[in-house]
């Protein structure tokens, strides 16, 4: 029961936390108030999940199932609110809510523009998805703030919820990873806070819109302003997990439960990246970069480095979840590259890739979860021949992986296209090269997985042979040839891999075409449950956990969304256009 409470209680907070940090452009406060539609919805966006989470906590003590239902209702409500808000943003341009009637810069104002509406919607939708998947979590909310200190508070709430979620894993490793995450996350948040302090000392205000004006008055080249930028960016960089500030992230992702990994990867880092856009564009504005080209270059090249380093590390991993975790380092690098380009195409690309990555990476983790439940496969070697045992999840995984690689027309490609366009327009050949090469870098680690899932015979992953093969792999992971031979070595040491292979083929050959799809590769499959696994996705599993139709549906749906989003990129851009104009002005 406690785990339920845990997830139920904290998840919602995450949402809240995640909540919302939105802001406005450098337009003056008065202008902001004059040009925006007022609405009671933004605070609801924050309040609903909070209330729901308290309700789930209370009810969850007695009735597990009821808690889930409440959470689900809350999440759906949240989607409705976020959807309505997004629609209002489309029609009215910008929606604000002045809290308690205290006008900024003295009070706090919630501002929803195209960007924050999108992030809000993303959070709400992902929550529903993860909820359906987990069938035991709570809702989350989202907020929008136009105040940098408020941003800190919400970042910390997000962080707290995330730490708790990571720690909800069963193993002691989860606790260690959570503590590491907590320490580094706190340092990141503290640095952000220090940055806020510098901004405050330089300007005397905290409201984004007001700050933007005041920072310009103070002068972008003054030391406190620069320090403010540096500390805020580095602080957020830790939270986003950009190389080399990423060290908490692989542990946290791989040690937490699968649903949690999905949730964190899809939302927590995403929200931090969103905060980065706000800080860079709404607070410091493009002119800051113009006055401090070094700051831009550092951010840009640091992000580019993150792309390369993340991919390289991803290739060397044995565990699938760690591979995906390092992949996030790389993909967020790409997002940050887009942001740092400070031109329209780059920014659009960054945002699209941010959203796309949330959908793709989150779903990849969910797919990994399904696969783990069904087959206990967690390492890359164990993924051999998976496609026959878990066809639907494998197919979704493959589609998502190719989308992530950037095969058009999926969303992964569209984001990359914009970022690349931005890099070329900005006259950054090196960065353009990195962006282009990121396709191949991503291919390097995903192709390895897909090949194993679809075209490798199943090997005995539980016996001693498997262990030997694993040992050989880690050093050879980078090179397909070596790894192949390493596996074979291991195989011959214990179980004769060749024999296993041959059995598999015999089995296959004796079968007729009719049941090929349902082929079990029984010859090599020691799990023994693979035979029935094929056509019915909801069958027995070795560990006692169940894969529900809902879980599979979420993953499949996400794969479709990943492709469809690519085709809808124009609409996304249209939604963002007014916001972009403000941000880039």
């Amino acid at each position: 029961m406690i785990p339920t409470v845990a997830v139920t209680g904290t998840a919602p907070l995450t949402g809240v936390v995640a909540a919302l940090l939105s802001g406005v452009g450098p337009a003056s406060v008065e202008q902001l108030l004059a040009t925006s539609a007022n609405s009671p919805l933004p605070p609801l966006l924050v309040a609903v999940p909070l209330l729901v989470s308290i309700a789930t906590l209370a009810v969850g003590y007695r009735f597990d199932r009821a808690a889930w239902s409440i959470a689900a209702i809350g999440a759906v409500l949240q989607v409705a609110i976020a959807g309505t808000l997004a629609w209002r943003v489309v029609t009215a341009g910008r929606v604000i809510h002045v809290l308690g009637g205290f006008v900024p810069p003295f009070g706090i104002v919630l501002v929803v523009d195209g960007l924050s509406a999108l992030v809000a919607l993303l959070i709400a939708v992902v929550t529903v998805g993860v909820l359906v998947y987990l069938r035991q979590a709570g809702p989350r909310g989202l907020g929008t703030t136009g105040d940098v200190f408020n941003m800190y508070v919400f970042l910390e709430i997000t962080g707290l919820a995330a730490y708790a979620l990571v720690a909800s894993g069963d193993s002691g490793l989860a606790a260690v990873a959570a503590l590491k995450y907590l320490m580094l996350g706190t340092v990141g948040a503290s640095l952000f806070l220090l940055g806020v302090g510098y901004a405050l000392i330089a300007t005397g205000t905290l409201t984004m819109a007001d700050l933007a004006v005041r920072l310009a008055e103070v002068g972008y080249q003054s030391t406190p302003v620069r320090a403010a930028f540096a500390f805020m960016t580095v602080g957020l960089g830790v939270k986003i997990a950009l190389f080399p500030l990423h060290t908490w992230q692989p542990d946290a992702y791989s040690a937490s439960p699968d649903g949690v990994s999905a949730f964190i990867s899809a939302l927590v880092s995403t929200v931090s990246a969103y905060a980065l856009v706000r800080v860079v564009y709404s607070v410091f504005t493009v002119e800051f970069f113009a006055a401090n080209p070094l700051a831009r270059d550092l951010l840009l090249y640091g992000a580019a480095l993150s792309v390369i380093a993340g991919s390289t590390l991803a290739v060397t991993q044995r565990e699938v979840k760690r591979t995906l975790a390092y992949s996030s380092v790389s993909q967020f690098g790409l997002v940050a590259v887009g942001f740092a380009l400070t031109n329209r195409a780059g920014l659009v690309g960054g945002i699209i890739h941010l959203l796309g990555h949330a959908v793709m990476k989150g779903s990849l983790f969910l797919a990994v979860g399904i696969i783990a439940i069904r087959t206990d496969a967690r390492t890359i070697e164990e993924y051999a021949g998976l496609a026959r045992r878990v066809p639907v999840a494998s197919a979704a995984f493959a589609v998502l992986a190719f989308a992530m690689i950037g095969v058009p027309p999926a969303v992964g490609f569209v984001g990359k296209w914009y970022i690349l366009l931005g890099a070329v327009e900005a006259g950054e050949p090196v960065v353009a090269l990195v962006v282009v090469a990121s396709t191949l870098l991503t291919l390097a680690y995903f192709a390895r997985l897909i090949e194993r899932m679809y075209f490798s015979p199943v090997t005995d992953s539980t016996g001693p042979a498997g262990t030997v093969a694993d040992g050989g792999e880690s050093s050879a992971g980078r090179d397909g040839r070596e790894s192949e031979s390493a596996v074979a070595d291991g195989g011959s040491a214990g179980t004769d891999a060749a024999t296993v292979d041959r059995n598999a083929e015999d089995t296959r050959d004796t079968r007729n075409d009719s049941d090929v799809e349902a082929d079990t590769s029984a010859g090599a499959d020691t799990d023994g449950d693979a035979g029935s696994a094929e056509l019915d996705p909801v069958t027995d599993d070795p560990s006692g956990r169940e894969v529900t139709a809902g879980m599979t549906a979420v993953v499949v749906l996400a794969a479709i969304v990943a492709v469809a989003l690519g085709l809808l990129a124009t609409e996304l851009e249209a939604l963002l256009r007014p916001t972009l104009e403000v941000l880039l002005s």
């Binding site: 282009v436 090469a437 075209f455 040839r481 031979s485 891999a497 079968r511 075409d513 349902a518």
Partner: protein
Amino acid sequence: MIETGSLRPLGAVLVAALSIVGIVVFRARPNVREGWSVLGALGTVAVIASMVPGVLAGQAYVTDLGTFVPGVRFALRVDPLGLLFGLLASLLWVITTFYSIGYMRGLDEHAQTRYFAAFAASVAAAVGVAFARNLLVLFVFYELLTVATYPLVTHDETGEARAAGRKYLAYTFGGGVAVLAGTVLLYVLTGTTAFTPGGIAALAEADPVLARAVFALLLTGFGVKAALMPLHSWLPDAMVAPTPVSGLLHAVAVVKSGVFGIARVVLDVYGPGLMGDLGVGLPLAAIAAFTLLTASVIALRKDNLKRRLAYSTISQLSYIVLGLAILSPASMVGGLLHIPAHAFMKLTLFFCAGAIHVETHTDDISDMAGIGRRMPVTMLAFAVASAGMAGIPLVAGFVSKWYLLIGSVGSGQAIFAVVLLLSGVLNIAYFWPIVYQAFFETPEASDRKPLVESPLGGRYGDGPAATRADGGRPGDGRDEDPKGDRSESDRNDTAATETPLGSGTTRETDSEAAGETPPPETQDSPTETDAVQSEGEQAVDRYPSDHALPGDDRERDENTADSKNETAGPGEDRESSEHSTFHDHAYDEPHGPPAGGWEQRAFGEESSWFVLGPILTVVAGAVVLGIVPYWAIFLRVVELIVAGVTGTPRVVG
């Protein structure tokens, strides 16, 4: 050209794509599933054919699906060039589908649903490539084509198939990246990526250095799939795929999508005029000429039939590129016409190779002496198609090569005419021995192939145990350590294949040859026994170091499978691939020639009609193209294309 809004371009892609659904849904019922394949193929070709009259009348059909990314519409358009490729791919898909059915069932292959689904997806993507309205949409389908073909290359799921698939992905995605970079640069330079016959006007005003860079990027990208040297090495490896795949995809759809991309770039992005101004035509032509000759020479040395065909493909694709690069109207007609011409001929050849494989499990040319008795129709078709490849009149290849010759001489670049003629000779050199020995030799009395290793004309009386050209001796190089295996055989091969011709390509060919030893994996006990019995002969075979006991073989296969640079044998069938080791060993039934030579089979009894029918159809197509090219539509379409680009109404009387 009048543009007409129409759903038919989209329809053509969708029909092919939707057939996948049917194929997957009815995976448990092979007959219905194959019915969907056929239906999809017929539907696609019908939709495309319905546009032929309109296009010939100067119309273009456009489906506009809205903006994809700013400044770029997601639009499909059927213009003459697109029609040429789309019609070709879909037409041959119909034929190949029937052939696939015969082939896959004949071999009782695994994962047939995946095979047919991926096949349909590949063709859908190829049609998309054909009809793309602009470079970015073309890129979209180009990448999808890569993904869709990958399962086909790796179909076998053996170590070597995976290695080939990996190589294929690395090469083609690498190429895709270059195309993407080029497209972005082009967009930044000109603000558009739309194809314009005669070239994008704004490009002429762009910085020439950047324009050349874009050209180089695009060419590199498309050159991968077009197998221009030195980007070709994925293609021979990909021959590990089932033969129909090698036939349609690796001789028509996939490789031609690369060539087609180059054609789009040359004709509709740069235009011949700007190409000349930038001076990029000549380097391209030089690369094509180099590829053309080198690949022909390598083909000479391939004993595995499919590999020889693969190198022949590499060489023939360069004809097309060469024709485009020479930039004269006549050569362009020749080059473009060679797209369908080569497709028909090469498909015939692959079908024949596949038929031989299905019926007799023979893959190596050296095993095929006298096979004309066993498979008369097949080998006859093979002979006709080979003749066409060499440019002998009355077959398709002649017409296109004729135009190419006229074009190169006419534009004062006679050097390329010499190259073309030389290549024709080489074509004969590597095809004629196959045909000759099939009909006029017997297994007992045949010379050894590949030809380069022995004097032209062959040498009779070589016993199987004789010292090999590669210097291998019986028992030489026995190597118990699997790890040492590769380097050992490499050394042997270096000695074996050193030829006067091996300049820049020697290394390449060495490693190719190194892999020629197939994975001696055995499946059925009779074969295994054979393998043991024939140990003595094996040891003296061309790659002594590869020899080991069968048990070791299996293990070593695992170890080295991926390190092999190429497929050892026709990957579609592990059972028989081991037998390609037994080059001159004539006694193992039923692989290779049976004892006492090939039995005589009558017309129609040599194979199933699922296999023979397609062969006859394609070869007939090749002949029709050669005799009445104008009537066969393709030449008309080609002339329309060239006229649109250059403004010359009729190129050659």
